[in-house]
């Protein structure tokens, strides 16, 4: 049986038993059939379930309230009565203002939280991206075995795919290998940008708001010096100047005529950390010659009528033929076609769904509580209702009255919920991490309002249904006798107990999820990364190509800035690296170990690498295990060490003698490639480099993220492999933030056109990586807290009501000399009983949620016994405490007074 079917069977219990016995099997069969026919999207399911519940609710009412005289049907009632009913409902609610306020607050809180969460899910996951026919767009990756399904595409592969594939209308490539330093328009700034082929904008189907996009002519080698800029850059730096399309901007010291401005919503391709791009320029290089250079990202628009699967099949065939034709280059390179939408939201989808699920559970718990309160209130109103029935009011009339009361509560609560959601969304967009795509644009739109309205109506119906079912059984004669303890009362108490058990079970599910995430986060933040990030400031530098064309110039700059920084009074050491730890740089590369036979194509040894200056290890406190690290005396070359592809144009002075390059490796690399020998003095090559000698082994560090185990890694000296884009790392004794101004002054004293906007501490870099995780965890924790609070109220309410019913009995027991401790135990056990049943049900659900979220957890199993033990104890303790208060009250009963009223 599916969950849906199970839920439907549960809902069917709202019908009278006779009806159920006769029709249940047929109704379930029909439900299953209709569900199969319903659309499987989230929206489709939502519509289906709304229809199911509305249908159920309408017919339950008819079945539950059968003795309906013809003239008293809702249809024959004049509409003028509605105003009267609403006024009457308002009077009833203001008669018990505390209860009404509490119910409204509860509803506003739960609907607000759910609506805010839905708005985020809607913005990030459901809303289509602002591209033409976004469902036709795909990303085409290179796949290398199961471990690496998303590799950058080789330039020659892109050229072949574009020529051969028929599944796509158009295909375009994107590369991220350039820096875009903007000068001459305010402070120098490092822009986020990409180079794209001229097909890019037609593929995306987005037109500029000013000017035009570039054509194939401007994408030819030697012609690429034109740019499109983002609406934000246009606004911030150029005051939305309408004549921008006839102006040039200075990028990397060279003039780039601006062709046009892209609309504000167009934020593709996202830069590091999901940042929106500011600038697009043509690739304009003969990339088809760059065989084996894997540096492209490929987007394509599917031809009309072609599915992703068909495109994948065609690309499989193309990849297979390339593998045959170019075994040296393409052995083991397959293709992976993925819908663009799911690729863009993939990183956050599961976490968001977990959150949304948790919020849904909070909503249900809130519903249980509201229903509980209304059932209790219905009890106090039985007398009134019985009088009205006796005076001739039809049951429909009364049902209608109660429904309108529920409706008024739901409307006010829902409106409050929307206001709260508005505030929560504002809060979320201000503090949310950048790497959740489009989160910044979350807002309340028509769809979110519809959701809030549906949530209000559904809660109104769900909790309105329950007290109504009780009232339907009102026997006039019974109710007119005051103080009678009829059967209905025990039925009501049973219903309230069931509601509380459901609350405990639902709370268990959320709290277990929150517990698992909290423990994951705790373990994650207490991982030793192998380096010391405290008191270190990171500053990104990107030297413009035009002024720093030679390796010697680049090295000279870094040498002098590091010397100046190290001389500052509060600085302990200064260094630089091309990939800041936990930054977005990816650095896996093929290595060939000398003295070993060449492995077959596709099975080359790989390692990550970093280019660092001599003081890098000292600045980050990385321990040296064997040998030495780099020295300033390590031979300096005027040339890059690594050639990235065999056809790369050879640099000048290539024939000058090279001194032996050196490398430092980490423990993992030593263990993996030299398991039983001393790696010092061994040699390896990187791509098309000369051979590199290992001079030292350093401690493993977690350079990619806290969650990833360290892998093989080697370091090259900046002396020998000077990069233009590096990150300065400066360790100081003082608060790192106070260093920023001093660092900026030093940079500008060497080159006043260098942007240095990206100054932050290394701890911030690391934190940024886990900030989404932290956010999800704290939100889950907050929801769990809400659930626990609501559950406490529920248990307290039911136990104190049950105790109040037994005041009489307790008084007599006390008079007969019962031990007060025994009586207290009796009451507390009553509360604990509810909790235990709820826990037993909840543990199963919690485990299922944990399984769904398993790959979001870090070093903890979804069934972690410690978490469950802790939770069970916590829930039991809360239940005991919530029962303790009414128990204490019961013990203060004066037996003499009880006996006197008898």
């Amino acid at each position: 049986m599916t969950t849906g079917e199970w839920l439907y069977r549960l809902l069917l219990r709202a019908y009278p038993r006779q009806f159920r016995q006769r029709f249940e099997a047929e109704m379930v069969a029909m439900f299953v059939d209709q569900r199969r026919a319903a659309s499987p999207t989230i929206g489709g399911r939502l519509r289906f379930w709304t229809a199911v519940i509305v249908d159920l609710w309408r017919s339950v009412l008819r079945e539950r309230l059968p003795s309906r005289p013809q003239h008293d049907s809702i249809r024959s009632m004049p509409m003028g009565n509605l105003g009267y009913d609403v006024r009457q409902a308002w009077r009833m609610l203001t008669r018990a203002p505390a209860l009404a306020c509490f119910v409204i607050a509860l509803m506003a809180l739960t609907i607000g939280a759910t609506t805010a969460a839905f708005s985020v899910v809607n913005t990030v996951l459901l809303r289509p991206f602002p591209f033409a026919r976004p469902d036709r767009l795909v990303i085409v990756w290179e796949r290398r075995g199961a471990d690496d399904p998303r590799n950058a595409v080789g330039a020659h592969e892109y050229a072949e795919w574009k020529a051969r594939a028929h599944s796509f209308e158009r295909m375009a490539a994107i590369v991220f290998d350039r820096d875009f330093n903007l000068t001459g328009a305010g402070e120098p700034a490092a822009l986020i940008g990409a180079r794209v082929t001229s097909d890019f904008f037609p593929v995306m189907g987005v037109a500029p708001i000013v000017g035009r996009v570039f054509g194939a002519d401007e994408d030819r080698p030697g012609h690429g010096q034109v740019a499109l800029i983002s609406e934000k850059l246009w606004r911030d730096r150029f005051g939305s100047d309408a004549s921008i399309a006839s102006r040039s901007i200075t990028i990397n010291g060279e003039p780039y005529p601006v062709l046009g401005v892209m609309p504000a919503g167009f934020q593709f391709p996202p830069g590091p950390g999901g940042a929106a791009p500011d600038i697009w320029t043509p690739i304009a290089e003969p990339f088809h010659l760059y065989r084996g250079r894997h540096y492209m990202f490929v987007v394509a628009r599917l031809r009309e009528g072609v599915t992703v699967e068909q495109a994948q099949t065609e690309m499989n065939a193309i990849a297979a033929s390339l593998e045959l034709a170019l075994p040296q280059l393409n052995k083991g390179h397959a293709v992976n076609v993925q819908p663009l939408h799911s690729e863009l939201v993939a990183g956050v989808q599961r976490a968001l769904l977990v959150l949304f699920g948790a919020v849904g559970l909070v909503l249900l718990i809130g519903c249980c509580n509201v229903a509980n309160l209304l059932v209790a209130r219905a009890a106090t109103r039985h007398q009134e209702i019985a009088v009205r029935v006796a005076l001739g009011a039809g049951r429909w009339r009364i049902a209608r009255q109660l429904l309108i009361e529920g409706g008024v509560l739901a409307a006010i609560g829902g409106a409050g919920g929307v206001l709260l959601a508005q505030w929560l969304i504002g809060f979320a967009t201000r503090f949310a991490p950048l790497d959740v795509p489009r989160l910044q644009t979350a807002q309340i739109d028509g769809r979110v309002l519809a959701f809030a309205a549906a949530a209000s109506v559904m809660t109104g119906l769900i909790f309105g249904l329950l007290p109504l079912a009780q009232i339907a059984r009102v026997q006039v004669s019974d109710r007119l006798k005051s103080g009678s303890r009829g059967i209905a009362k025990t039925g009501r108490q049973r219903l309230r107990r069931a509601l509380v058990i459901a609350e405990v079970a639902l709370t268990m599910v959320i709290a277990a999820g929150a517990g698992l995430f909290l423990q994951s986060l705790h373990r994650l933040t207490h991982v030793n990364p192998g380096f010391d990030a405290s008191h270190v400031v990171a500053v990104d530098i990107a030297l413009p190509e035009a002024r720093y064309r030679t390796a010697a110039r680049r090295h000279e700059f870094y040498d002098s800035i590091l010397t100046r920084l190290a001389a500052l009074p509060m600085v302990r050491s200064a260094s630089a690296t091309n990939f800041v730890p936990h930054g977005s740089g990816s650095s896996g590369i093929a290595v060939a170990i000398e003295g070993r036979p060449n492995p077959p194509p596709g099975q080359e040894a790989t390692a990550s690498y970093r280019v660092v200056t001599s003081d890098y290890f000292r600045t980050l406190g990385i321990a040296i295990v064997r040998g030495r690290v780099f020295r300033d005396s390590d031979a300096r070359t005027a040339l890059p060490l690594i050639r990235w592809f065999p056809q790369q144009p050879l640099p000048e002075h290539i024939d000058e003698p090279q001194t032996s390059p050196v490398a430092v490796i980490n423990q993992s690399m030593a263990r993996r490639y030299w398991p039983s020998e001393d790696p010092i003095g061994r040699k390896f090559r990187v791509l098309f480099s000369p051979s590199i000698t290992i001079v030292g082994v350093v401690h493993d560090t977690r350079n990619h993220s806290l969650a990833d185990q360290p892998g093989p890694e080697f370091y090259l000296s900046e002396n020998q492999e000077p990069w233009s884009r590096m990150t300065l790392l400066v360790r100081s004794d003082k608060e790192p933030a106070s260093l920023a101004a001093a660092i900026r002054t030093e940079i500008w004293s060497i080159d006043r056109d260098l942007p240095s906007s990206g100054i932050r501490t290394l701890e911030e870099v690391i934190e940024r990586n886990i900030s989404s995780y932290r956010l999800v965890t704290w939100l889950l924790g907050a929801f769990a807290g809400m659930g626990l609070l609501l559950m406490t109220l529920g248990v307290y309410g039911v136990v104190s009501y049950a105790t109040a019913q037994r005041f009489h009995e307790i008084g007599i027991r006390l008079a007969l000399g019962a031990d007060r401790r025994d009586i207290r135990r009796l009451i507390v056990v009553n509360g604990l009983g509810l909790a235990i049943v709820g826990i037993a049900i909840g543990v199963g659900g919690a485990y299922a949620l944990g399984r769904f979220a398993a790959n979001l957890l870090y070093e903890i199993k979804p069934g972690d016994p410690g978490t469950y033990a802790l939770l069970v104890t916590l829930v039991l303790a809360i239940a005991a405490a919530a029962s303790w208060v009414p128990a204490q009250r019961a013990l203060r009963i004066d037996p003499v007074r009880v006996l006197r009223t008898e």
Partner: protein, 119 residues
């Protein structure tokens, strides 16, 4: 006897939309619940989708009023044993007839007064 049937049928009028559509569906042939829902959805071009609650709630009242009879489980082997077939009774057919005659006379007025254009 015919008069008695007419009187009994008249007492059941007016028919609710759900009743009208279900009787209309059964007037063609005996059907099970899902078959009725599918037929109604079909001939109303999807304007009326009967949920299980509405459908069986209405069937229950139709059985009680004697407009429909329950034929029980299907006889053929290949049918879903959970399904039961329903048949319209002479009373149901008469009520349907009277109701649709009423609708027809309204339609005729509407056509004469050009509220409804005849195509």
């Amino acid at each position: 006897m015919a008069h008695r049937l007419d009187d009994a049928a008249r007492a059941l009028l007016p028919l609710t939309p759900a009743v009208l559509h279900i009787l209309l569906s059964l007037s063609a042939e005996d059907r099970h619940g899902l078959g009725i829902a599918a037929d109604v959805k079909d001939f109303t071009h999807g304007r009326l989708v009967l949920g299980p609650g509405t459908l069986y709630g209405t069937i229950k009242r139709l059985l009680e009023s004697g407009m429909v009879e329950d034929l029980g489980q299907p006889s053929s082997e290949d049918d879903d044993p959970r399904r039961r077939y329903y048949r319209i009774t002479p009373l149901g057919r008469r009520a349907l007839e009277l109701e649709t005659q009423g609708i027809e006379s309204i339609l005729n007025v509407a056509k004469r007064r050009r509220v409804l254009r005849t195509s």
